[in-house]
């Protein structure tokens, strides 16, 4: 079993260590190795020492007892501002969720219901998990950009949305462990070995295992299986009744290099966590981008622009290829105060491609 295997592994490590010692004796004698093992105690001497700065950059996980939390703090109302700007497009203004994206608040007392609502408040056992996950992996498409204070503030706002703290609570590395999540005791360790395996490790029945059998449910009734490409094509073909008019697809504009558009589609991935373009595009964290070229700056109804954007629009400025190029190169340099939390497109060639792509799929 696994314990025995682990013991065997420990034994193997000792054997490896012995081999290492042997290698080093050979190395010391100049016996055929091209280089001596650089790390004295290691088995093979491969790899190099990790520097403290490198460990600090990557080792940012937070443990349930709060170990790993950096110094910092954030309050509920600062958190609300950041949340509405950076998180609400997917999680809703009040952390209530949007579409298929996760609901972060509420759901208390639903875990034994037919449709449980598993939120940070109702389900997550440790607060450390939300700080850790938000700081490392959020916002979706712009991970790793939140400061420690931002993260404390966002977590404070989520706690407030869950009615777990008052609106004057300041979450910090010092107050963090004062907050206990309601479902901390709602988990048990894997007990399948005792509850299930003991029952299901039995000689199975081979004949006369039940008296009769009836179908109780058909998947075809639910009808949620995606169609295959062939089925979809066949249906589409059946719907088309009018013959295509020959010669209808005449080129009316100078064709844009398809390779540039394709490169732009790939480069647009940098933008797509926040912006949609093309058919059915809608506002997300950023405004939708259909008809962007020639559009008045800051002009999409219902989108909460920064004042620098609305002011530019009111002054009569429109998005030109030149203006976009400058903005995408250095967003905050060109539009100081923009809410777009994006460092800018690093490769200048990508900018032309992105603009070509936006025009090709998002012209109105």
């Amino acid at each position: 079993d696994a314990v025995a295997n682990a013991r065997a592994a420990e034994a193997e490590i000792e054997v490896l260590a012995a081999e290492r010692d042997e290698l080093q004796v050979i190395a010391a004698a100049g016996g055929g190795l091209t280089q001596p093992a650089p790390v004295a105690e290691a088995v093979y001497g491969l790899g190099r020492e990790a520097l403290p700065e490198e460990i600090a950059a990557w080792d940012v996980d937070i443990l349930p007892d709060g170990r790993g939390l950096p110094v910092g703090s954030g309050d509920v109302w600062t958190g609300e501002e950041i949340f509405v700007e950076q998180c609400a497009a997917c999680h809703g203004d009040f952390a209530e969720g949007s579409g298929n994206w996760p609901v972060l608040a509420g759901g208390f007392g639903t875990l034994s219901d037919e449709d449980p609502v598993k939120t940070i408040g109702s389900y997550w056992p440790y607060l450390s998990t939300s700080w850790d996950y938000i700081n490392r992996s959020m916002p979706f498409g712009n991970a790793g950009t939140l400061s420690a204070d931002d993260t404390y503030a966002i977590v404070a706002y989520i706690l407030y949305s869950n009615d777990l703290i008052d609106d004057d609570f300041v979450l910090s590395n010092e107050t963090f462990m004062d907050v206990e999540l309601p479902n901390a005791g709602g988990f048990v360790l894997d007990d399948r070995a005792d509850t299930e395996y003991t029952v299901w490790r039995a000689e199975p029945c081979m004949t006369g295992c039940k008296e009769g059998v009836e179908i109780t449910m058909h998947a075809s009734v639910v009808d949620v299986t995606p169609e295959t490409e062939e089925e979809a094509a066949a249906e589409e073909a059946a719907v088309v009744t009018e013959p295509a008019v020959e010669g209808a697809a005449v080129e009316t504009e100078a064709a844009v290099d398809p390779a540039l558009i394709e490169a732009g589609q790939s480069a647009f991935r940098q933008c797509s966590a926040c912006h949609e373009v093309g058919e059915n595009a809608s506002n997300r964290t950023g405004p939708e981008l259909n008809g962007l070229l020639g559009r008045s700056i800051g002009s999409i109804d219902g989108f909460r622009y920064s004042s620098v954007m609305s002011d530019a629009g009111e002054a009569g400025d429109t998005w030109t290829a030149e203006a976009l190029d400058a903005f995408l190169t250095d967003p905050r340099g060109v539009m100081s105060g923009t809410k777009m939390a994006f460092r800018g497109v690093r490769n200048p060639e990508d900018i032309a491609a992105i603009i070509a792509y936006i025009q090709s799929v998002g012209s109105e």
Partner: protein, 392 residues
């Protein structure tokens, strides 16, 4: 009448075919273009953080080609080159180390075939028969031959004297992508059979499977097989990351959830006939083909029923089961054209017998999401058309 495919001179028997180098890296012939991964769009909010399904209904043998092996990303598949790749080992080790990709290729390596199954495989079927196709009900699985360095070799290189007693120690493993997906693995497993792998089925990993380096955690849920692995930290506690608290915990009917349910229990599925693979040849000899696997060890036996579980017969294993790898089974029968309720039931070398859906529900309820290893039923009608059903 004589068959014109034989009596008439065919184009391919007269004209020339394509030369070498037409496709320097080959693709399947055009007649096989339907053997591809598919997704269920309503399942997730965005294709960037989503999953698709291996076309297991159309594959044979046990090895999954990389090009159609299911994908699961939390923040999209990334392009990380071997030159830019770094692997850090830190925490309770004697020497925190950084390895390059080239370093990994200089350590003694091993080859092993293992299945990788998402804990949510068959998860949409808890509340009832829902998706029509083995690809959709059971396709969050693949099975490859991995080449890599045992994790214990890397841990020994960093030195574990500082860790002291291994009994309460863990390794926390983390990916380099934007989700930085991370999981805690007990030291006992880390020193047992976990591999730091850089090849699959003889070639480099695909981007969608973690190129250039991923973790292989045999028999345990796929979420722990960290892709683009960048860091291994020895800790004295589980990190309790988002993927081991909010997700990948199994909520039971009483509102209490099981956690640390790492092992994938024994499971099997008839891949053909199945909803995407109807019987098209009429009555007579019929090959029933399927897959079985267990995260505990080897598949020792698979039974097949064609009457909805009243009577069972033991199927033939394609070859003897390998530990924590897919095993192919066959049930060769003479179909008389009658309706069938087809089921398969796997057993592994711990004596575990795959349970029915009702047995699982009785134990856990319907909101577990993960670890649904129930016996699946296909209803095959007189025309040979198959459907996903539940039976009494």
């Amino acid at each position: 009448a004589p068959d014109p495919a034989i009596t008439e001179l065919q184009d391919w028997a007269s004209y020339l075919g394509v030369g070498v180098d037409e496709t320097p890296y080959g693709l399947p012939i055009k007649f096989e273009t339907d053997v591809v991964r598919r997704s269920v769009p309503w399942l997730t909010a965005s294709p960037i953080s989503s999953i698709n399904f291996t076309p297991i209904h159309a594959l044979e043998g046990t090895i999954t080609p990389q090009g159609c092996a299911f994908e699961r990303h939390h923040s999209g598949a990334i392009e990380l080159s071997k030159d830019d790749y770094r692997l850090m080992i830190n925490g309770l080790v004697d020497r925190p180390l950084v390895f390059t990709y080239a370093d990994l290729e200089r350590l003694p390596r091993e080859n092993h075939v293992y299945f990788c199954e998402c804990a949510a495989n068959t998860g949409m079927e808890w509340a009832g028969a829902q998706l029509n196709g083995a690809q959709f009900t059971h396709g969050m699985i693949h099975n490859m031959e991995y080449t890599g360095v045992p994790l214990r070799t890397l841990l020994a290189e960093a030195g574990l004297d500082a860790a002291g007693d291994f009994a309460d120690k863990w390794v926390y493993v983390e990916g380099a992508d934007a989700s930085s997906n991370g999981r805690s693995i007990p030291m006992e497993k880390a020193l047992d059979d976990v591999l730091v792998a850089f090849k699959a089925n003889g070639e480099a990993l695909r981007m969608e499977h973690g190129y250039p380096v991923r973790l292989v955690v045999p028999g345990w849920e796929g979420n722990m097989w960290i892709k683009w692995i960048r860091r291994i930290e020895v800790t004295d506690a589980a990190v309790e990351s988002r993927e081991e608290t909010s997700k990948y915990t199994d909520l039971h009917e009483d509102g209490v959830a099981r956690k640390w349910t790492w092992v994938m229990d024994a499971k099997s599925i008839i891949t053909s006939p199945s909803p995407q693979m109807p019987i098209t040849h009429g009555t007579g000899p019929l090959v029933v083909s399927g897959l079985a696997w267990s995260g505990h060890g080897k598949i020792t036996r698979v039974d097949v029923s064609i009457d909805g579980g009243i009577t069972w017969e033991t199927a033939r294993l394609g070859k003897q089961g390998d530990t924590k790898a897919l095993t192919r089974f066959y049930y060769d029968m003479d179909w008389d054209g009658r309706e069938m309720l087809m089921q398969a039931r796997a057993m592994d070398d711990t004596g575990y017998v795959q349970p029915t859906k009702d047995q699982l529900r009785e134990m856990r309820g319907e909101n577990s999401v993960y670890h649904n290893n129930c016996i699946q039923t296909w209803f095959v009608n007189e025309e040979g058309v198959a459907e996903n059903v539940e039976v009494s």
